[in-house]
């Protein structure tokens, strides 16, 4: 009886081995590490791909592919005709959108991509200032692999809290939630052949409506996220502090190890009024002014001035967002969660947000100055 069972299972195993799965052997797939999406002249999608080709014999590690199609998936299929390896997006790290495609509101590309299980939710999204194609075609000596370079660049800056975090998960999360809009970091290629973070793109629903610069993105980050361990130069406009550099007539306080947290509270339902409490602390490293930081009084003074200028910046930022009807900070989310049966829709919220009043309270404290007193 036992041996019979043995024979049975053996024959079954052989049968099973007939149904081998279709292999995707590492060296036979073309690993796309970066996608770029632009809009072409006739309105179809123009895709640019960075394919990793690891061949010890060839000097270049990447191949840039371009193709045009009406559907997102079609781009990869069309590009497939031009490669020696089957393209696969399982190692995708970065997706870059061209500015035009976002202005037309075709962010939905990201949504389409998530139905492909091989694409990770931790893929970074970014917007190119100009076209994604130009950005990806960048070739300089110190950037042999633009895909990897962009990934490292975004990764480093996101972790360092310079850029707002925009992974596929977060962007989709905000895109689909009522009362919060997604943001994307903007990458720009400058004339010297370098790529840099220049600002943040603001959206209304899925349409690009505005941009803020990288300086303001710090304040946006402060509100959106728990901010931990960044550094920032804060500009101070005050008569009491004389700038060292008379020519520029600007005083700058350099902060390090900045920690911040914010809290939004709805205080008036009818008039839609919010309280935004921002708490920031950090190390004061440098003030470009003739002032003795050893003096406690002076520190107090600087603290006060920094508080003022942070508040001013945040108010400016909110006003800008309101004018663009882009609620990147998520006030709507707070409204929805505090008002029962609000039945909030995106459209209603855009109007309400425009009229909403936000009281900004900033609490800044200097934890310590640097090594020197």
């Amino acid at each position: 009886m036992r041996t019979k069972g043995w024979i049975w299972s053996c024959s079954f195993s052989f049968l099973l081995l007939c149904g081998c799965a279709q292999p995707k052997v590492l060296e036979e797939v073309g690993l796309v590490t970066t996608y770029g999406y632009d809009i072409s002249k006739n309105g179809s999608i123009l895709g640019t791909m960075v394919e990793l080709t690891i061949d010890p014999a060839s000097p270049k590690d990447v191949v840039i592919l371009e193709s045009e199609a009406l559907s997102v998936r079609g781009i990869r299929n069309n590009a497939n005709n031009k490669t020696s390896k089957r393209l696969a997006s399982g190692q995708l790290r970065v997706i870059i959108y061209g500015e035009e495609i976002l202005k037309q509101g075709r962010t939905g590309i990201a949504e389409t991509l998530t139905s492909d299980p091989s694409i990770s939710d931790m893929t970074y999204l970014a917007m190119a200032d100009g076209t994604a194609r130009d950005l990806l075609k960048l070739k300089t000596e110190h950037i042999p692999d633009i895909g990897n370079h962009l990934y490292k660049l975004i990764d480093q800056n996101t972790k360092g809290r310079v850029m707002p975090s925009a992974t596929l998960q977060e962007v989709l999360h905000n895109l689909f939630s009522i009362g919060k809009e997604p943001i994307l970091p903007i990458l720009k290629k400058d004339g010297k052949g370098e790529v840099g973070f220049t600002g943040v793109a603001l959206f209304k629903e899925s349409k690009l409506v505005g941009k803020i610069n990288s300086d303001q993105s710090f304040y946006l980050n402060l509100i959106i996220d728990k901010y931990k361990g960044g550094n920032k130069d804060v500009e101070i406009k005050s008569s009491k502090l004389k700038p060292r550099n008379q020519q520029l007539n600007k005083t700058v306080a350099s902060l390090d190890a900045v920690n911040g947290s914010s809290k939004i509270k709805l205080i008036n339902r009818e008039k839609v009024e919010f309280d935004l409490d921002v708490k920031v602390d950090g190390r004061l490293l440098e003030v470009t002014s003739m002032i003795d930081l050893g003096n406690q009084e002076n520190i107090k003074l600087v603290e006060k001035e920094i508080t003022k200028s942070i508040k001013r910046e945040i108010e400016k930022l909110i006003a800008y967002c309101q004018s663009k009807e882009s609620d990147a900070m998520g006030f709507g989310e707070i409204y929805r969660s505090s008002v029962r049966h609000s039945n909030l829709t995106d459209k209603r919220w855009y109007k309400m947000f425009k009229e909403a009043k936000v009281n900004v309270n900033v609490d800044f404290s200097v934890k310590r100055t640097g090594l020197n007193e």
């Binding site: 279709q22 299980p117 990770s120 992974t167 998960q169 989709l172 989310e333």
Partner: protein, 368 residues
Amino acid sequence: MKVQYQAKPQYILSTFILFFIIHSIQVGIGIQGFQRIIFSEAKNDSWISVVLAGVFTHIVVFFIIKTLQLYGPTDIYGIHIEVYGKWIGKAVNCIYIFYCLGMFVVILNNYIEVIQTWVFPTVPTWLFSISILLLVVYGVTGGIRVIAGAGFFSIILSVWILSFIGYPLRFVDFHHLLPVMESNITSILKGSYKMTITLIGFEILYIVYPFMEDRKKVIKYAHLGVAATNILYLILMLLTLSYFSPGQLENTNWPTLSLFKIVKLPFIERTEYVAVSYWLLIILPNLLLYMWAAVRGIKRSFERKTKGVIWFFTIFLFFVSIFINTRSKINQFNDFFDNIAFYIAFCYPFILYILALIKKKMTSLKEN
């Protein structure tokens, strides 16, 4: 056949294994995607639905044990014969056996669907079906001890998955849970009803009961097992609600698996691939226990040899599973068994308890 069943000493299990049996059979395929279905009814109050459904499960389990305690060491097949008489009893047993087999197919096909969507889109259904069925045959022929062992190890070896909760926690926004009680009671209850297919499995108590060493402790471990499941579901529900935004959740078929998508280990970039395959170990005890329950039914009602019955069922289930191969067919099948499961697992225990009670009273009156 006799109503009571005294298991042979080598098949007796220590009672606290029941915790693992109950927990492992409840957690299986439903956990991968229950959040979306409930969310579609109860919105951001879905977690209340989970709690309500959990409480209801405890009540049902209480009545199941009450029913069993009326008879001493017996199982549902014995009770049926006792309550309904020989012929109707056997017919009801057959329905129960079909229910077990149906649940088997639901679990099997949903798992195959998941693995085909996520990992192997080109591998045919029959192949997964045969391979899993062979494992089940190998396990079920080993007897209840092996099956309970599979349940035990499937839990112990899956505990590490829980440690991944920390990753999505970085992205959660608890504002999604507010305001509490925004949905009305009806939709919350509807949400609870949708928990059926996720929660069932505890009815295996009806069948493993005579194999327990100390039947007085059954009530404790059965409730512990159910409680563990409920807590797990509640945590997952809260996590899912606060991790996904409402619109996102509506579009996500398997939110639990999608939660894995952001887990990034230094040596494994994409944990969901590992998780989907690893799920085989989690569903294995479900399949083993349902198959075993069905085989027990045949053995108890018709006194057939188990080995032939197992092979017969296997071949039968294989053909059923390759017939149900598309998404829409699977969904139809799921909905159908969702309804059946609700009545058999959640409602029927009350009826059976009342019937058994009446029968017991009547016989004692007759004797007097």
